[in-house]
Amino acid sequence: MAPRFFRHGPSLLSRLVFFVMLSFVLMAVDSRFKYLIEIRQAFSAVVYPLQRLANVPMALYDGVSEFFDSRNLTDENTYLKQQHLLDQGLLQRLHALEAENAQLRTLLDAAQRAEGKAVMAEILHVPRDPFNRKVMLDKGSQSGIQAGQVVVDNAGVVGQITRNFPWASEVTLITDKDHSVPVQVVRNGLRSIVSGSGEDGTLELRYLAANTDIQEGDKLVTSGIDGIYPPGLPVAIVSKIERNSTYVFARVTCTPVAAVAHNRQLLILAPLPPAAEIPAEAFETPPENKKREKIGLR
């Protein structure tokens, strides 16, 4: 066998071609078919401890500055006490309303809305990638987090969990270009879908006819018809409407209510129970039958 110095293996160019092809295949599979979750999980086992390590200096800085910032703490304490009193009052009203609502619902024989348990999570890492609006949270499948759960902050919807790893999970923010939330205008109940624009702090209402009844300052809340987002969570406020008579659709720009990119702690809501109204056949039709139906139609 030749000594190490003389062994070369495949040429440089063929190695490059191999890895370029491999990356293209991976990218295509990942962005079109979403098959690579297991491979991602294996890699995340390596990356997770490093992410934790990278967070240490920031956490230390926060801890130290909190320790020296005691004057701020008393202010915050009095503010929180006042807020607590206010919230207490509101909460008592809420309890009364909840009881009344439950009673009315039983009267109407409607399904009870399940109250979800929420899990608090901290942002582990904000990726630098300018093409995606995503964050990593420090709770994963070990804490019972599943893909599809909704993430909120104190003001409104922040995003949705799209991938879960053992100790971390990936949240796609509502500002991501591939993310949409079914919403309803509070003022008149108009239903639509708000989509991310890929830029910080802007959302779009697409395909609304130019004569739609929508105004600047309208509040958008989740409509709940998707079975993923619980109804009534604040999402965005309409900030700008451009109606151009040459286009069929109005350009409606919205600002998210939640501080989407400026939080450290977020709340992960429990998944909603599956809606009973969706018929089981809708999911269980085998593909062969569908084909046959299509052929039959022809």
């Binding site: 440089l12 990218m27 992410q51 967070n55 942002i123 890492h125 300018p130 624009s197």
Partner: protein, 173 residues
Amino acid sequence: MAFADQPKQEILLPVRGSLILLSLTLALVLNLLPLRGAALVFWPDFIALAILYWCISQPQRVGISIAFVMGLLMDVGHASTFGQHGLAYSIMAFAALALHRRLSIFGELKQAPQIGLILLLGQTVILLTGLLDGSHFPGWNFFLASVTGTLLWPLFSSLLKLPQRPRSDSDAR
């Protein structure tokens, strides 16, 4: 003479594999630091710098395959499309390997602009794959990371050279 301004060639100790591993791990940690605001725009890609350094100084040990694996780790850490950074790092490693004989003639300062071009090439690849995936153009300050990477190169490569310097023996006098 044409090579009169060539820097003094140093004789360095053989590189231990642990140093390469440690530097790549540290670079990954530096890339994963939770930064915000302006620092995020200027923060260079340390993994790219480390891969370029090792491809130029140790071309028979660090190659395209290691660059590709580091790219996949970066993709998981950054939640980007799987293979995006893998592709960019493979192409950057290829450029560095193809040019390593020429690059190792120059000193760190003269290497910097050439390294800058390779960094720009890598960022362009990332930008193109992002645009293919349907993103908006993120703005020209996207390329600022390459500029800071170029400016940091002399410091970075001399830091990595430090553990390879032979220790001066006190008995040698």
